[in-house]
Symmetry: C2
Subunit: 572 residues, 2 copies
């Protein structure tokens, strides 16, 4: 045999849902047999979902995942299935203290004809950004191993293993591998697809061996996995790409020259039941804005559905953030699953309420109007003594936001919908948001979207519906941003204009640049110091924020770990 029929299962998985994931794997295996694939490649940690986090510290969980592997092996037929699982492993030098020793490996099994034919342990464990793999896994020993599938020499590695010049795939190529499989749980951020495809192309060319890269899809808390499984030939040319964000089972024939007949035997005979040819296709790439929008939709969709909610509740102010959030929600869940609530207060403009009504009409979703004036007044009455002699200020502003938060949560508690928070990354960064107020909610769509990107996404989304009724009224896009918590308030009372603020945030938050470096880049020194002080001083708010979709290299989630109690840049 000089051709390998390769199937890939770019599927969605749920962390810890071993039973659900098993059913998805079985479905892919059944399909791979019907198309007579030689190999079916599944994503990293297929059985447990990625990332399983501290579930890995539970022996019963690891045992259950191994039981599933045994069942899958038993069920396996002619197709060699490469499936990710958690294998047991032993650490070299355990500690003497009460810390739990690491006892597992991030593994891939080759299963076929009723048996586990081989196991590979991931060697390079990412422990940066959102990744914590050193916390859990013992690395593989890195001994070079090839597998014989129908006479063809196959190399296998997991994710990070292929991200260095001299990792396991390089050694496998050196040893005579004719094709390299690499299984992944690689989350999306803006531009990640390009980074991946450039790297894989370079590696395939350097190795002189085709590379088959399979990634999962789907939302998992803050992470969205974007798929984009890819195959590069030995010259580094892209020959196959699966869809972005969508599940896809793909299958194609890869020419690999004469059988080398080396490596540990998985299945020595070629498959004889194959008919016809299957050629690879290249799915079109999404534009960068579209890609980000799709990530938002997928993240919300999967958070809602995987956590068992039937509906979301959104506070609709008439501003751009809540308008975009509602639009994403309708795209993710459909208009009948989105309940918008306008809660006009003493400083809300009529225009805002009209815009909220307009947005709901355009989106086709339900709107309730619940004025907060009387509740606000009841609060002020109760606080009359305590507040006596003080100036009206931030306390009264935040109260209005917190009343709205409490109303949304009451509707959630009463009817079961999940509240979606509507704040954006710029606000979260500088603390221009009320804790337990507009920050209230189970999930946040725009948490990692800077305000200028909110406009970019809103405009893009409107363009998609051009002539069919844009979801977001132009007046919402045009109006100067305001929290409407006091008379004639606009955001620029408290913040620099967003087109100046956002570049500073990108440099300080996403790239860890110093004040000096940002000023050297052309920003006003006083403004930079002010912004940095706001970012540092509001860590405590972000610590209590809802999770939200990550679309950048550094979101306000587990990719940015900073103490609240600290004094690094507070030069006061």
């Amino acid at each position: 045999m000089d051709t390998l029929r390769i199937a890939g299962g770019q599927i969605d998985l749920t962390v810890g849902d071993i039973t659900g994931n098993e059913a998805k794997i079985v479905e892919a295996m059944t399909w791979a047999e019907t198309v007579a694939a030689d190999v079916l490649v599944l994503p990293e940690l297929t059985i447990t979902g990625y990332p399983p986090d501290d579930l890995l510290l539970r022996p019963a969980f690891v045992e259950e995942n191994r039981a599933v592997l045994a069942r899958l092996a038993q069920r396996s037929g002619e197709t060699v299935v490469i499936v990710g699982f958690v294998d047991s492993a032993t650490e070299d030098s355990p500690r003497l203290d009460d810390a739990e020793p690491r006892e597992v490996a991030n593994a891939a099994a080759l299963i076929c004809r009723g048996e586990v034919k081989g196991i590979y342990h991931k060697v390079l464990l990412p422990n940066y950004g959102v990744f914590d793999e050193d916390r859990y896994f013992v690395p593989g020993n890195g001994d070079t191993q090839l597998w014989n599938v129908g006479g063809l020499a196959v190399g296998l590695s997991v994710c990070e293993d292929i991200w260095v010049a001299d990792g396991p795939p390089a050694a496998q190529a050196e040893a005579g591998a004719q094709v390299l499989f690499n299984i992944n749980g690689s989350p999306y951020h803006r531009g990640k697809g390009r980074v991946r495809s450039e790297l894989l192309s370079r590696q395939a060319k350097n190795f002189g061996v085709p590379v088959v890269y399979v990634n999962r899809v789907g939302g998992q808390d803050e992470l969205v996995f974007d798929g984009q499984s890819m195959v590069f030939d030995a010259e580094g040319q892209l020959i196959m790409r699966a869809a972005q964000f969508d599940e896809e089972l793909f299958c194609f024939d890869l020419e690999l020259g004469a059988a080398a007949s080396i490596g540990e035997e998985v299945r020595s005979e070629a498959r004889t039941d194959r008919s016809g040819d299957r050629s690879a296709t290249i799915a079109p790439e999404l534009g960068e804005t579209e890609e980000a929008y799709r990530a938002l939709v997928t993240g919300l969709d999967h958070y809602v559905s995987k956590n068992g909610f039937a509906e979301v509740v959104i506070g609709l102010s008439g501003g751009i953030d809540s308008a975009l959030t509602a639009t994403v929600a309708v795209d993710a869940l459909g208009p009948s699953s989105v309940w918008c609530v306008a809660m006009p207060g003493p400083y809300s403009s009529d225009m805002s309420l009209r815009d909220a009504q307009d947005i709901c009409e355009r989106l086709g979703c339900r709107l309730s109007v619940i004025p907060i004036g009387d509740i606000f007044k009841a609060h002020l009455d109760a606080l009359d003594d305590a507040f006596a002699g003080t100036e009206t200020g931030i306390a009264e502003e935040n109260l209005q936001a917190r009343i709205r938060g409490a109303i949304l949560m009451a509707l959630s508690n009463k009817f079961g919908g999940m509240v979606v928070a509507t704040g954006n990354k710029s606000e979260m960064a500088v603390g221009y948001a009320t804790l337990y107020g507009d920050m209230a909610g189970g999930y946040s769509v725009l948490k990692d979207v800077l305000k200028t990107e909110v406009y970019e996404l809103a405009r893009w989304r409107n363009e998609q519906s051009k002539g069919l009724g844009e979801p977001i009224p132009q007046s919402v896009i045009d109006r100067p941003p305001s929290a409407e918590l006091r008379e004639d308030q606009v955001d620029t009372d408290s913040l620099p204009p967003y087109d100046q603020l956002d570049p500073i945030l990108r440099r300080y938050v996403e790239h860890d640049e110093s004040v000096d470096a940002i000023v050297a880049g052309g920003a006003d020194a006083d403004m930079v110091r002010r912004v940095v002080a706001m970012v540092d001083g509001n860590e405590y708010k972000r610590r209590q924020a809802a999770p939200g979709v990550r679309i950048t290299l550094k979101a306000f989630g587990k990719d940015r770990r900073l103490a609240i109690t600290r004094r690094d840049m507070r030069r006061d």
Copy 2:
């Protein structure tokens, strides 16, 4: 010279506060010179504070810390100062992707007579529990190195290095070290002191060399460092122990036999300006309950003071949790910095309000009474249409808690005090707490204290004031726990009795035991399944909880990392 005069600086440090930490180090150095110490030993990462987290990804921050080291070295005199800092280092195989490469080491410098005389890089990097050191640090190469201080051979290591049988200190002892210094940033949990002292005793005896262990003190977000710096002689006998939780500069003479005159020269001559003898003292050990109470007091005290608050605001229900929280707050900050607020609602008993008044009288702190009835009514009126035809239930109960949260936050916003949340670990575990309601606050005292331990601590604290006026009225301890959010409500309506609930939580949360294992331990199977489902189903609430003092091996903080979206034990 056959005697080494050893000084230790068991000091409190703040993460990122390089300038403040420098001042503390200078103070200790000045003192060490006045007592003519040969060596001054300071805690791990003295200059940056521990743990510096993602500040380590900022080149400007690392540079600044190195500049401080240079200044400290310049200022150093005859005393050899061992000071922790972040050194630059280079990783062996950098990744090809856009992840930031690790470029620093967790280091200790030996400075003396105006110069940096030597540098050690930590070899074993803890990356479990609350620790993330693999995320940041390149490990030291582990080459065995001794230092010559006045002819005596000295070994130096950092924290984790001494926690394995065959780590760097073992090799240093083998190579002829006459004394081993080990610098630490080791956080407290119940029983940790005993674990440490048993290990250090065993190691000193195995090595046949005295071990000098110096740890920092002070609160740092969720962590409290408890000091307890210790020295063990070559037979493993404890010969010195510093205080728990308090700062202490200590100094004593250690007999070390004849000078070996090996190792890299730090200061070859013995010190000639020393007079008299200084003997070591052993501070008494605190009892386990007292220790936990001290941790709570220290954690709150330092969170409040290091974050610049002058006052705290506490919602006082008349129940045991808020009573203990207020007592801890008064012990930490003094009665004039604690503002208690009772917010009686439609279902609050008169008894609860009287108890709240009684508590405040006993503690000597201010009490405001702000009834929430009218605000609650205003909410129900506004929600009248939306709630039409529904049964009164959890939505209405949570509303009361959220109104109280909003009032406390309004007082905080208006007058600047920080709200302290009053919930305990049992509630946080099973979700018997209202997000944005009683969970609202900047910091939480009882977050890692199970309800049964709340009683233990309350009784212990009362005993300390026996005859002088116990802070917590007996009626508060005796009354069955109730949230008082509906008629005749008690906690056992919704939860198992706490003496059955807490052992299950300890096994499931703190020890990662499976349902089967917990049932095998004697608990009722249905109850265990119910409790586990509650714990798993409330991850989303804990994600938005305030930080709080950690007193167990596994708190609901960065030592327990679990996805919200998962389905591991939800067998429904």
